[in-house]
Assembly symmetry: C2
Homo-oligomer: 420 residues x 2
């Protein structure tokens, strides 16, 4: 594997990845990608405003602690048989150490995917096709957090191509409430159901899961910029070499965010590639070294901006924020979240509109799911997954995978290497 | 595995999945999910309107044939060692049979993922936590299509939970053009680059990949409806049980598309769950049996609507279309695509605005990628993946995975079952 990084445990965010660096076979050196990455907050507002449930607007990390809520992994169930495990300790409520065995697992992921491949078909005078293919093997670090009823499977995956992928899997037991209905039609006709009628007298409440990632990306060093590559439609000029039947095309207009306000982004509005670049380091052809964010599922808040839970969870107002590094700014919902009023946190910090161009910057990325429960989620929810990819973009001079050593082909039963 | 389905080969779409049915342990019967599914078209418009490149707006399926372009899979590279393979035959240009060995592979996917799990922490008088976890093992059917420089890894994955997931992986060799530049700054300053300067005198052209899936979903029979479950913000009324500090919440407003025009959807605009339902079959609590679409990455066209390629590729104007089943309507770009003018195809058929409520309907889903090449894509692109999930939604009475038989735990070297 061409990655090296630190894995550490913290009572609040749990799994922290730091000092992630990848080996560059051209430079014959490890190059920095991410100084630190972890989940910063998980906001789960339930959508039942009636008197018994209106207060269920949980901040699972700030109120309960992601580390404190991390559970021991079940070998062969939570992680494959070839995984290795790490323990953790933290100070319990009375100060005595709490030991959590097997809190992380680390394993090579052999999912049957293709790292790269090509079949060359059109070679003159050659009748057989020439095909090259490399299977994908990546390295996964996993933690599972159980807060009450619900389990979150948190993965950080490191690929030979240079990509870091995150995945969060939602499973566990659905939050339900008792109700006096006996048929879905009654629940649908009521103003007080606020969920799906799942089973006798049982409502699965509507809710959201907003996961906020803290991503202190350091592309080849600390001083980076946040660059928006906007894909812009153009009319064909029909002059010179453009005198063709084509009437339109798109091109890329690059915009560097100078301050925090220029980096607040609601995804889904327009086609833009989002890149953390090091403007001081360029490839031989002259492109700044960068890492691109490829988003997965994103959601936007549907609570009113003046509603208490949304004021506390105002870090969900945008899917992307970029801040200058500040060691006190780690948790999007503020340092102290219990009974907070929204007086601290990402939305407040960024009001200062600090300079973020060619600085040590942190990207914050909010992903999530609107959850309309269905009967299949009850009592036990089959895992629903989402995440994002951080992918090198003009960071290497060429495909990093060309020099990746392929794993040896295994026998059909997976036991031993195929003899040549 | 609790699925049964047919796999067949067709010279045009290549891999066709049909008659997909899943076993319901409560009903003790197989129940229909999808009558037929395959990729209907792949539209790849390059974004260079200059005289040498403007015509590069490929329809890989309609112009080249996805089946005809399917390649023999490389064992241990394209598919894991435990995969099984199928051959295909088609009629060549002179009528003689063409044999394609190993055109499909089928394998169990052991990716190290969690099917479902939960740790029960708050049991009174019990100090040890009780944890249950089931690893995910699914079944994948794969075909790889190489059209010229580029390779597409096409997966259909069947999960024990009832989900069908598709994935398309983009890899192969990037399309480049020669240019008289020696530095990225020259290309950036030019009106004629239309791509990223990747290497000496080499431009990687901007382009899109639009994949259109044909999905004849038959939830418990042929007559289905297409239902939009819109997530709608509401102000709290502050009356009765709603007399609480909450000011807002969201609820679900269900809307059944009556005609084709009501089913044309550009994804990303608002939060809506999209469900194919059988309005004639309901669960015991009273919810219509359904399958929900969970989209992955989607894109929208950036070409002008009056531009020739976009008129031919007008099936990309929406990400979702729903049509009544018609055996002649299989290919979104029309039956005959070579040199077509947009006179046939999905956008034309749906102008009739036919009835789609409680009918045998077909959903068409357009996914894709805007591709701004980077140096890592050259010469060989590390696989970039996307897809979508079709997930049962009130199709089963409860979690189908509760009765799924877990695979036996394997020894750490993967060779043999762990003895109890």
């Amino acid at each position: 594997m061409n990655w090296e990084f630190h894995v550490s445990f913290d009572a609040r965010p749990g799994l922290v990845i730091s000092m992630a660096r990848i080996y560059d076979p051209d430079q014959k050196a490890f190059r920095s990608v991410m100084y630190r990455g972890h989940i910063s907050e998980l906001f789960v507002p339930y959508q039942d405003p009636t008197e018994d449930y209106y207060y269920k607007t949980f901040f699972d990390s700030g109120e309960f602690g992601f580390g404190v809520s991390a559970v021991s992994l079940v070998p062969n169930g939570d992680c494959p048989s070839h995984a290795v495990y790490m323990d953790a300790f933290y100070a319990g409520p009375d100060g005595t150490p709490v030991h959590v065995p097997n809190v992380f697992c680390i394993f090579e992921r052999h999912a049957g995917e293709v790292m790269w491949r090509h079949t060359e078909l059109a070679i003159p005078h050659v009748t057989v096709s020439i095909a090259e293919s490399r299977p994908e093997v990546s390295l996964v670090v996993r933690m599972i957090v159980t807060v009450g009823n619900y389990d979150h499977v948190i993965d950080w995956e490191f690929k030979p191509s240079g990509s870091i992928k995150t995945q969060v899997g939602l499973t566990g037991i659905l939050e339900v409430k008792a109700a006096n209905y006996t048929h879905a039609d009654q629940a649908a006709a009521s103003e007080e159901a606020h969920g799906t009628y799942l089973a006798e007298h049982t409502i699965g409440l509507y809710h959201d899961h907003f996961l906020t990632y803290y991503l202190d990306i350091d592309v080849d060093g600390a001083t980076n910029s946040f660059v928006k590559k906007n894909l812009v439609p153009r009319r064909n000029t029909n002059t010179g070499h453009h005198r063709t039947p084509r009437k339109s095309y798109w091109t890329v207009v690059t915009e560097t965010a100078r301050t925090e306000s220029e980096a607040k982004i609601r995804l889904g509005v327009g086609p833009t590639e989002l890149v953390i670049e090091n403007p001081n380091k360029k490839t031989k052809p002259g492109n700044p070294h960068g890492y691109r964010l490829i988003p997965g599922p994103v959601i936007h808040p549907l609570l009113a901006p003046d509603d208490g839970p949304q004021i506390r969870g105002s870090f969900t107002n945008y899917n992307i924020w970029v801040t200058p590094y500040n060691k006190t700014e780690r948790y999007a919902g503020g340092k102290y979240v219990d009974q907070s009023q929204g007086e601290d946190g990402l939305a407040v910090w960024t009001r200062r509109n600090r300079k973020i161009e060619n600085e040590d910057i942190v990207m914050w990325h909010v992903i999530g799911f609107h959850h309309v429960p269905c009967q299949e989620d009850f009592p036990m929810m089959p895992t629903l997954s989402g995440g994002f990819e951080l992918r090198p973009t003009n960071f290497f001079e060429r495909s990093a995978v060309l020099k990746a050593v392929p794993p040896p082909p295994m026998k059909a039963d997976g036991c031993g290497v195929v003899e040549p």
